[in-house]
């Protein structure tokens, strides 16, 4: 792909802020897509004030010539279309002397978030620049400005503007003019913030969010029924899936609440159609009673839970890894089930697809723990890896007499029948039962079924997919979910060869794989457990279910800020030095 960039910068982080209606998100979105066309990788996160609409917003972009995984906390560039309430984002936008701030309006006084950092400040008064262009919009000029600044070819910017405003010819003309004014404004400055050219590769790249990826993974795995109730930040999964499910012969129903949605999904799955629901913390909490039913009655089911800040309603629009406890332990009774976590945006596809496969294979619910930062970040990324995993339930179609739905098999997996099949009738039950499904409160039946439900999960061979393991040193770093990106990025900086640090990002959180874990950690001297929570939920869980001896230390910070890759590097640097 062609690029006129002559830059040297490998990776660049840009924050754009502005008040409601200033068009911040449009700038971010178009810039990312243009850069994608030009061959770069990148990502965009969103942040907004409390207003439903019309409040201040921020777009956080990162660009690189190589795939990137995780947002940094440091920004090279901050562009403010205006400064209204920008201070609200102070904690999220790390600036220092190396940063350049562009003030899109002529401001007498800059907010503290800028003035206290030592960042270089340059005024680019878009209003002034556009004075002569009637209808010219600040944000389109800002798009041209930023695009030119990082070295994105002007025609790619135009193409995105064209795509966006194609229906309104008049607007388009003005927009092109505004864009050019922005582009031109860069040449007046003596400044080089150009990205190094994208690698010349044939690798297919996708522009996708984690929520879309999860939806696609679900469809690929074979999900054909979804019942769900809207909740931030999971709703996009549903809105992406609903029209597309119909096109492949499936259906999505909006239920009256989460109690209905999980039970509808259970019903559809019982009758043979692979089913899913998606939610976030408060909704998952409402589902645990019925998840227990799926465990006891052995109904496959996928629940994608996109985590947000907790507890309670918490911070619905921001990310945190604090539904781990609930996902693993939130069911009453001894209720073993699957908990999986994607560790990157593209992996949302892979892991969700795997979840469908495992849930169906093992006839049990699988919770996929994604989070807001995976789900709602738009990434330009390598094409998600393909996988063959499909829903493959052991279904009997030709049923002998005396069929036992909950037969005590070697694998612990009991072949099921589906309604419609003669001779296969049974009653699915949340009451403890005998192998035939008859309710039983007898010690023997309880023991046998508890053992069976546990065994089928523990003895299953999950293969290498249970965790992503890389590097080979004496220092171990263990993490899960979106934090995997931060860890990999930090380690990449410190130990590009992978001789000092071993990284393990666990994808299969439950059932625990203590043996695989032990092997993976063999010969490490110290282990850092990284996660985004206040209560160190992951660290505690690992201690409880795996062998870590005294080697492990917790590195745990709550949301909403992403885990700081810089702090992580400092920590590991100390360990390397020690």
């Amino acid at each position: 792909m062609p690029s006129n960039s002559q830059g040297k910068i490998q990776r660049l982080a840009i924050a754009i802020v502005g008040s409601g209606g200033s068009g911040v998100m449009t700038v971010g979105d178009l810039l990312l897509r243009a850069a994608a066309q030009a061959g770069w990788y990148g990502m965009m996160r969103r942040s907004s004030g409390p207003q439903i609409r019309g409040g201040e917003v921020a777009a956080y972009l990162e660009f690189s010539s190589k795939p990137i995984e995780y947002p940094g906390e440091h920004f090279d560039i901050l562009l403010a279309i205006d400064w209204k309430n920008a201070d609200r984002f102070a904690a999220e936008i790390g600036l220092d002397e190396s940063s350049t701030v562009f003030s899109g309006e002529s401001a007498t006084e800059l907010p503290k978030m800028v003035s206290t950092t030592g960042a270089r400040v340059i005024e680019v008064d878009f209003k002034l620049l556009l004075k002569k262009l009637k209808g010219g919009r600040n944000n389109i000029a800002a798009l041209g400005f930023l695009g030119a600044l990082i070295g994105c070819p002007a025609n790619m910017l135009q193409a995105e503007v064209d795509r966006k405003f194609s229906s309104k010819a008049m607007e388009l003309e003005v927009s092109f003019a505004a864009l050019q004014i922005g582009v031109d404004a860069v040449s007046d400055l003596n400044i080089d913030l150009k990205l190094s050219p994208p690698a010349d590769s044939d690798e297919e790249r996708w522009t996708i969010t984690g929520n879309q990826a999860a939806g696609l993974g679900a469809l690929r795995g074979g999900i054909r029924f979804v019942a769900a109730y809207p909740i931030t930040p999971a709703t996009e999964i549903l809105e992406w899936m609903s029209p597309r499910l119909r096109k492949v012969g499936g259906y999505l129903l909006q239920a009256e609440d989460e109690l209905a949605s999980i039970n509808m999904s259970i019903g559809a799955s019982y009758s043979g159609v692979p089913s899913l629901t998606a939610t976030s913390g408060p909704g998952l909490a409402l589902m645990t009673e019925s998840l227990g039913l799926a465990v006891a009655a052995e109904i496959p089911l996928v629940v994608v839970n996109v985590m947000r800040g907790g507890p309670s309603t918490g911070i619905p629009t921001k990310s945190e890894q604090t539904d781990l406890n609930l996902a693993v332990h939130g069911l009453h009774g001894d209720a073993p089930h699957l908990v999986l976590a994607p560790h990157s945006i593209p992996d949302c596809l892979w892991t969700t697809q795997w979840a469908v496969h495992l849930a169906e294979k093992l006839q049990t619910p699988a919770i996929v723990l994604s989070d807001q930062s995976l789900g709602q970040t738009l990434a330009v990324t390598t094409r998600p890896s393909d996988s063959e995993f499909k829903a493959e339930r052991e279904v009997l179609t030709d049923v002998a007499d005396n069929y036992e739905r909950y037969a005590l098999t070697d694998s612990g997996i009991s072949p099921t029948t589906l309604p419609g099949t003669a001779n296969g009738q049974y009653t699915a039950d949340g009451l403890e039962h005998s192998p035939s499904g008859t309710p039983s409160s007898m010690v023997e039946d309880h023991d046998a079924q508890l053992e069976k439900r546990s065994r089928k999960l523990n003895n299953f061979h999950y293969g290498d997919d249970w965790a992503e393991i890389s590097g080979n040193g004496k220092i171990g770093v263990i993490t899960w979910g979106s934090t995997g990106g931060a860890v990999r990025e930090a380690v990449q900086q410190l130990d590009p060869e992978g001789n000092l640090i071993r990284v393990m990002v666990i994808r299969l959180l439950s059932p625990a794989q203590p043996d695989l874990f032990k092997n993976a950690l063999a010969d490490t001297d110290r282990v850092l457990v990284v996660e985004q929570s206040y209560g160190a939920q992951f660290y505690r869980y690992l201690r409880g279910y795996f062998e870590m001896d005294d080697r492990a230390e917790s590195f745990s910070k709550p949301g909403p800020l992403p885990i700081s890759s810089r702090m992580l590097q400092n920590k590991l640097q100390d360990w390397i030095a020690a």
Partner: protein, 277 residues
């Protein structure tokens, strides 16, 4: 749903061998009998039908039938049934509940099932008490029934299931009495035949915690009027109804809800292009 009852179906073909846990004399035994008679009459094969329930004495019914069954959790039978019917429209799906399961914890699903109008038959075995948990008041309990949870009675206006069903949009509303298992069979089979969401309330005495309900057999009688298709007329009738008129009290002609069907199916892999840069 239309079915041609072949002669070969007998009520007993719909009964499993399992002995019910119900008390001797409990009305639920007769509801089971009414159900099996209805199924024989309809001629739906046992394996082509699913019996779904929640938790309660009444909700124990699925395992006593020869149909596919789902004994779910308390209050959630209707969503489970909706999932089954949406996924497998060719199955006959019958849902059994109690007055606690269906009107107390399950009230929201009842409202929305009436409105959604999926082709389900919903049969509530109403004994105006929580049998399974040993005698607490349910939404349909009289205000002055003395009990341990509310000594002297709840002093609450009883929940009016048929009135609510009508207001919420149910497509078929009937009331039966378990003591009359032929009548029950008749109502259930009509309900199954009727498209959309059909609601059948069956008075089914709890002889253990409400022994006075044995007198119900003296009180029930067929409604003296024809089934109406007029929601307004039904509302007026139900408003003055003493709770003991039996029969099909209302029918509507709303077509059952069915998931939209798209003609030109595509492959999942066709979605990839949305994302490729």
């Amino acid at each position: 749903m239309t079915t041609n009852p072949p002669k070969t179906f007998l009520a007993k073909s719909y009964k499993s061998g399992l002995k019910p846990v119900w008390c001797p004399g409990c009305g639920d035994h007769n509801v089971l009998m009414g159900f099996t008679k209805a199924m024989a009459k309809l001629g739906v094969k046992p394996e082509k039908s699913v019996v779904v329930s929640g938790i309660g004495c009444s909700s124990r019914i699925p395992a006593y039938t020869k149909c596919y069954g789902f004994h779910g959790v308390h209050g959630r039978s209707l969503p489970i049934a909706a999932g089954i019917k949406l996924a497998r429209p060719e199955l006959s799906v019958l849902v059994f509940s109690g007055d606690g399961d269906g009107y107390s914890i399950g009230g929201n699903h009842f409202l929305h099932a009436c409105r959604r109008n999926i082709d389900l038959t919903y049969i509530v075995m109403d004994n105006q008490v929580y049998g399974m948990t040993k005698g607490q008041p349910s939404p349909t309990t009289e205000p002055d029934w003395d009990n341990g949870m509310a000594p002297g009675g709840t002093n609450l206006r009883p929940f009016q299931p048929l009135v609510i069903a009508l207001a919420a949009g149910a497509n078929f509303i009937a009331r039966g009495f378990s003591g009359d298992s032929n009548g029950t069979a008749e109502l259930i089979s009509k309900a199954v035949m009727h498209p959309g969401f059909s609601f059948v309330e069956i008075l089914s005495p709890c002889v253990t915690f409400r022994p006075e309900q044995r007198a119900w057999k003296e009180m029930v009688r067929p409604a003296p009027v024809e089934t109406t298709y007029d929601r307004g007329q039904a509302a007026r009738r139900l408003a003055t109804d003493d709770g003991f008129y039996t029969g099909v009290l209302f029918r509507d002609t709303r077509p059952a809800f069915e998931p939209p069907v798209v003609d030109n199916r595509i492959e999942v892999s066709d979605f990839d292009h949305e994302f490729v840069v």
